[in-house]
Symmetry: C2
Subunit: 183 residues, 2 copies
């Protein structure tokens, strides 16, 4: 068991189009934080769907799903666990729901144009969406509401992964405070 | 933030009929653990529904709901947080799903006869279920599968709240190990 305390934790929430690079960045930031011995949990769609395979893909299902993940993140944060969450999370209202529940939410907008994401198409999902095999796919037949005031924007179209990771880690060092030692 | 560690946490899962006394016992055990400075979270239906008011009451909805709570409990436990969960959780298969995900699940069967629970009826739910105002109510028109091998049984029909709390705290002191100091 762990002793309770007032230590400040945070939720690092990556939002952006499929293929923008959310999970790539989240994984690297996670590794850096975990390597330094902090309690940290990674949440993403693949992980949550592996536990709950029946989670639907309708707009309502996906929205409820993100809200539940946000609640889960807030409870972990409350108990001193750093949370790295990576979800398209296309709607502002839903991201606001998550923000309202977290003490210290750092929203990272992972920015890349639809054209670039579709060119990358790492999971072949855009191709399927264009073929009509996937419905309600963000960017194709569902909207992505760009964050208006995210804590951080990383542009993966014009910067390397290494540069984007540095941007995020530097932000954390500056804003989370001296408690967070990262080498 | 908190440093990660190998400390052993646990999930104390109260199951039993509505009115059996799960929440009363869970609250008292929670208070004792929190008072001693341990990281501890309390999960129950009222708390979860306050965040997700649209959670349905059908058999499928309730089942999915318990599984999600179990997953949430397992993540908190993994990060050293003690979890006190209080849910009717009537089905063995669902409780097994939760058990499979937790490292150290302590299932507490809060035992009281249906007659006694219905006599107590603290929230007036049995009356409504008998009147047909609530469907799929455990014990009335839905089944409760008694745990076959719970870690602990507390009989609230023949023992006082104080006695039942003592039984649980003594079990924790014996089984969770010397790490857990409770005064």
């Amino acid at each position: 068991m762990a002793r309770s305390g007032d230590d400040k934790s945070f939720v690092l929430w990556f939002t952006g189009l499929s293929g923008a690079g959310k999970t790539t960045l989240a994984d690297k930031v996670y590794d850096c934080i975990a390597r330094n011995g902090w309690r940290v949990e990674k949440l993403d769609g693949d992980m949550v769907r592996s536990v709950f395979p029946s989670t639907g893909f309708s707009k309502e299902d996906r929205d409820a799903h993100i809200k539940r993940v946000g609640f889960l993140a807030s409870l972990l944060e409350k108990h001193g666990v750093i949370v790295i969450a990576s979800f398209i999370s296309p709607y502002r209202e839903t991201r606001q729901f998550v923000r309202d529940r977290c003490r210290n939410l750092i929203e990272v907008y992972v920015s890349a144009s639809l054209e670039e994401c579709e060119r990358r198409d790492p999971k072949g999902l855009y191709r399927k969406a264009r073929a009509g095999e996937i419905k309600n796919f963000t960017g194709i037949d569902d909207t992505y509401e760009i964050p208006l005031t995210p804590e951080l924007v990383v542009d993966t179209e014009n910067h390397t992964v290494k540069e984007s990771v540095s941007t995020i880690l530097n932000y954390l060092k500056r804003h989370v405070g001296e408690g967070l030692v990262l080498d």
